[in-house]
């Protein structure tokens, strides 16, 4: 990197009241998020320093609840002011931007005209009523999306809605919602899309991707694509199941389960027992929630006492029908046929006995996606087991 660029960047940081020490600390936290050793911090710092101008970005709102923007507001490493003042120039972000109406639309036009921006999309792509179920600036939202996506350097679809339609696409998908990558492909717009599911998106992943894509230069040299799985998701974040990394996993191995609504529920929960019998979708949901956690690492769903509801499950290629609501509900019903490879169908209450003290690896949930009875497709689930009745005192 040119020495003058480094000097210019350091000056830029200093002008904003950020010391070089603070900056390196920040790069260390980014490295941790990316699953890298903090030894990479100087490398990240060097990548950031390459450009003294801020990376332009547009954050577009489609069929959304604004939960992903809300989620972004919770990030602290780096914090929000750093993201929007020192890392990116977010020229359009409806929920937080100063400009409105005509002035806001001018910001889009000026950014699109220059090109080279990152497009972040929150919310489902809304196709219903010829796209009129979402109107922005006096026209269907999808018309605007096509225009801004066509000239973007890369697209990041944040949250399950943007990835594949999310719950909005749940049966009967009455407003005809779909995900960004499918929509752009069907519209003949060829731009790399990174998919970050969960509902809402975990903000740490968004920041990690921004650094990965923009600052490490991995978009320009194409190396980012190798880090994504077939569904456009970063493998580091979405490569293993929640069950694999769950702090309650030991209780699963021991056959210690919270029995929902039983007299012992509170005591079992206080002891941190496994929520599998409450319907936890951790065995089929691939995110690193147990490691990254939520709200500045304060807690996460399972720590709160609720089973995982599989909000990170997505199937972008299906254009809505693979959405997490239909894939995981009813949320409080158990996955059927959770088993260990080579062992066959195993009753969870006896699983400890089957595997003993051996670390169980590669637990799989199979048979997913087959249609249940009725209108709504759901995950195959099982009814009450003999073990439940015993724990509940023989009756329900």
């Amino acid at each position: 990197m040119a020495q003058e660029a480094r000097g210019e960047f350091t000056g830029l940081l200093a002008a904003r009241g950020v010391s070089r020490r603070d900056f390196l600390k920040y790069c260390g936290s980014v490295a941790a998020m990316l699953g890298m050793s903090e030894m990479y911090a100087p490398q990240i710092a060097a990548a950031v320093e390459k450009g003294a101008t801020l990376q332009p970005a547009l954050w577009m709102a489609h069929g959304l609840c604004t939960g992903c923007t809300e989620s972004m507001a919770q990030v602290d490493s780096p914090d929000v002011p750093t993201v929007v003042l020192d890392l990116l120039s977010v020229n359009y972000w409806e929920t937080v931007m100063a400009a409105a109406g005509k002035q806001a639309e001018e910001n889009i036009k000026a950014t699109v005209d220059k090109g080279g921006y990152v497009l972040i999309v929150e919310g489902s792509v809304m196709l219903g009523e010829n796209g009129n179920v979402l109107r922005i600036g006096g026209r269907p939202g999808i018309d605007e999306l096509k225009e801004v996506a066509a000239k973007a350097a890369a697209v990041i679809a944040v949250g399950s809605c943007a990835v594949d339609g999310g719950w909005v696409a749940g049966a009967p998908n009455i407003a005809n919602a779909t995900g960004v990558s499918k929509f752009l492909k069907d519209s003949g717009i060829n731009v790399p899309v990174i998919n970050l599911p969960t509902c809402p998106v975990n903000p740490e992943w968004v920041v990690a991707m921004l650094v990965d894509v923009l600052l490490m230069g991995e978009l320009a040299d194409g190396s980012i694509l190798k880090k994504l799985d077939s569904e456009g998701r970063p493998k580091l974040i979405f490569g293993s199941t929640i069950h694999d990394n769950c702090p309650r996993r030991g209780h699963f191995e021991n056959g210690e389960f919270v029995v929902f609504g039983s007299a012992d529920h509170a005591a079992q929960e206080a002891a941190g027992w496994c929520l599998y019998q409450m319907g936890c979708k951790g065995p089929q949901t691939k995110t690193n929630c147990p490691l990254v956690r939520w709200n500045r690492r304060t807690s996460w769903c399972v720590e709160g006492g609720s089973p995982c509801i599989g909000c990170g499950t997505a199937d972008p290629a299906k254009g809505g029908s693979g959405n997490w609501f239909d894939a995981s509900a009813p949320f409080l019903s158990r996955l059927a046929d959770v088993r260990l490879p080579g062992v066959g169908g195993v009753q969870p209450a006896t699983i400890g006995a089957v595997v003993g003290g051996v670390a169980a690896v590669g637990l799989v949930a199979h048979g997913l996606g087959s249609a249940a009875k009725g209108r709504i497709k759901g995950v195959p689930t099982e009814t009450e087991k003999v073990s439940d009745l015993k724990q509940k005192g023989g009756d329900k």
């Binding site: 977010v90 109406g101 407003a175 609504g261 006492g305």
Partner: protein, 516 residues
């Protein structure tokens, strides 16, 4: 006459378009259009009540707690469930934390930029800024460093989210020093809303979209460690509200006292009430149920008296239906302010448009004599030089101020609830969940930070048989009804002065005062 369109309206949750007709610098007429239909009421049909608790929160990512609670309460009413006392207290605490989060975020991140000129803060004298903060009794920060950071940012030429704001607008009235104080607290507020959200995460797993208030009670079990964490965070947020947010509100309000003369709107106020007490009576909630129609006289609103009109909304369902038998069938034809122009239905109570939100709750609580509310409102009126005149609250400034005063009230109440929970646990009460099931129809009538919220739920054979939602923004952002009567925001816009029709800043203030 000039038509002025604001589309998109920014710094809100969701998609909104506002059209106003301006004549001689004053708004003469207004049309408010909701831009998004997703179909939540339909997707929940045939699902389990617990699924509705989780998913209905996705109506609003800023107020998911309130939707989750209204859904769960609707299902519980339908199934005949009464939740344990511990669950009641915990739900109040989660709900209260969301109110703090939402109101802090609203005041500083969403609406402050309508009153605070960020660029003007660059010319603030630092010594004078400290003097002003001391005089206003608001907390200080390293104002010099903040101004330096802001200067570097502005000189960099890339204004990011501040690009094209209404800087230097004639309706911006704060001195540079007060602008700088507000910018400093804008940054602090981002920390504080996150602290409040972390309180929800402790009790609910995460925020937005929490996990624990399932029909029947709560699955979060408090431990000493978690209660300690909760208490510490509550104290930090509560003190910041008292020492920064409230003094800021008074200092800024004094510069905008003209905003008590317009923005009143329909003058009818509805609150379903929020924060249950031990007897679960909505009229005895910490902020009670009540309505004020055309004056400050309290009446009891009847849910049966609601009708939802679709004459100006893009639906093809029955007109004037009560939500308990409501329908939602989308049908777009064209946008026309003379015919249909919104995805929002027009709910009316006894055929009257009703304003909902913190102003409604605070007024109802004030008239009902809730002590903490009475003392907050009375002391604020005195500080603004209008003692004993609560009617000045029926205005733009009143709507803004009421939300911030409510933040203080709820924060103080939450301290009591934490104590109440600790006492309940100490007494040996270890019940958090009740394992009952039944079927029938019910309604969860509650409050989101932005106003009265209802989920009408039918449960049959363990599955949702009917589902209708009337959100606060359905009330406030409603289009005209069958009789051509404007919705609350439309009515509040009428009479608003507009200094520059190309930059309708004052209209945005009115819109944001409802926190859509």
């Amino acid at each position: 006459m000039a038509r002025v369109e604001i589309d998109p309206v920014t710094r809100i949750e969701g998609h909104l378009r506002v059209e106003v007709e301006v004549d001689n610098g004053v708004v003469k007429d207004a049309w408010v259009s909701g831009g998004l239909y997703r179909g939540m009421e339909t997707v929940l049909l045939g699902r389990a009540p617990a699924d509705a608790f989780y998913v209905s929160q996705r109506i609003c990512g800023v107020c998911p707690i309130s939707h989750g609670h209204a859904s769960t309460m609707g299902s519980e009413a339908a199934m005949g469930i009464k939740i344990p006392n511990n669950a009641r207290i915990i739900r109040n605490l989660i709900e209260g934390a969301e109110a703090l989060h939402s109101h802090i975020l609203w005041f500083y991140t969403l609406t402050a930029l309508d009153y605070v000129d960020v660029v003007s803060a660059l010319s603030a004298n630092i010594a004078d800024t400290y003097a002003l903060a001391a005089a206003a009794g608001t907390s200080t920060a390293d104002f010099g460093a903040i101004q330096k950071r802001l200067k570097g940012f502005v000189e960099g030429g890339q204004l990011s989210i501040f690009t094209n704001g209404y800087w230097g607008h004639p309706a911006m009235k704060l001195p540079p020093e007060l602008n700088l104080i507000a910018v400093a607290h804008y940054l602090e507020a981002l920390e504080m809303q996150a602290e409040a959200a972390a309180m929800i995460a402790i009790m609910g797993g995460k925020f937005p979209h929490f996990m624990t208030s399932l029909p029947g009670g709560t699955v979060w079990i408090p431990t000493e460690e978690k209660l300690d964490d909760l208490y510490f965070r509550w104290q930090k947020v509560r003190n910041w509200i008292a020492n920064a947010m409230i003094p800021d509100t008074i200092a800024i309000a004094k510069q905008y006292l003209d905003a008590t003369t317009y923005g009143k709107g329909v003058g009818n106020y509805l609150a379903w009430g929020v924060y249950d007490t031990a007897d679960f009576d909505p009229k005895k909630r910490v902020m009670p149920r009540g309505a004020l129609v055309g004056g400050l006289t309290l009446s009891d609103p009847k849910p049966e008296a609601i009708k939802e009109y679709i004459d100006h909304a893009w639906y093809d369902s029955g007109d004037g239906l009560n939500p308990s038998v409501g329908e939602t069938k989308a049908k777009f034809d064209a946008y026309s302010t003379d015919a249909k122009y919104s995805w929002v239905k027009a709910p009316r109570l006894d055929d009257k448009p009703m304003e909902v939100g913190p102003l409604s709750r605070m007024l109802v609580s004030y008239v009902a004599g809730v002590p903490g509310v009475v003392s907050l409102i009375d002391s604020t009126l005195a500080a603004l030089g209008v003692p004993g005149k609560p009617e000045v609250l029926l205005s733009l400034l009143g709507r803004v101020g009421a939300r911030n005063l409510e933040t203080m009230f709820v924060a103080d109440e939450m301290g009591k609830w934490i104590g109440e929970l600790i006492e309940a646990i100490k007494s040996g009460d270890s019940k958090y969940f009740t394992d009952q099931t039944g079927e029938g129809e019910g309604a969860g009538l509650w409050e989101a930070p932005r106003g009265a919220l209802g989920h009408w739920v039918g449960v049959k054979g363990g599955k949702i048989s009917s589902y209708q939602v009337v959100t606060p923004s359905t009330w406030n952002m409603s289009p005209r009804d069958k009789n051509g009567v404007r919705g609350p925001l439309e009515e509040a816009l009428v009479g608003t002065p507009i200094a520059d029709a190309t930059k309708p800043l004052e209209a945005l203030r009115i819109v944001h005062s409802f926190d859509p």
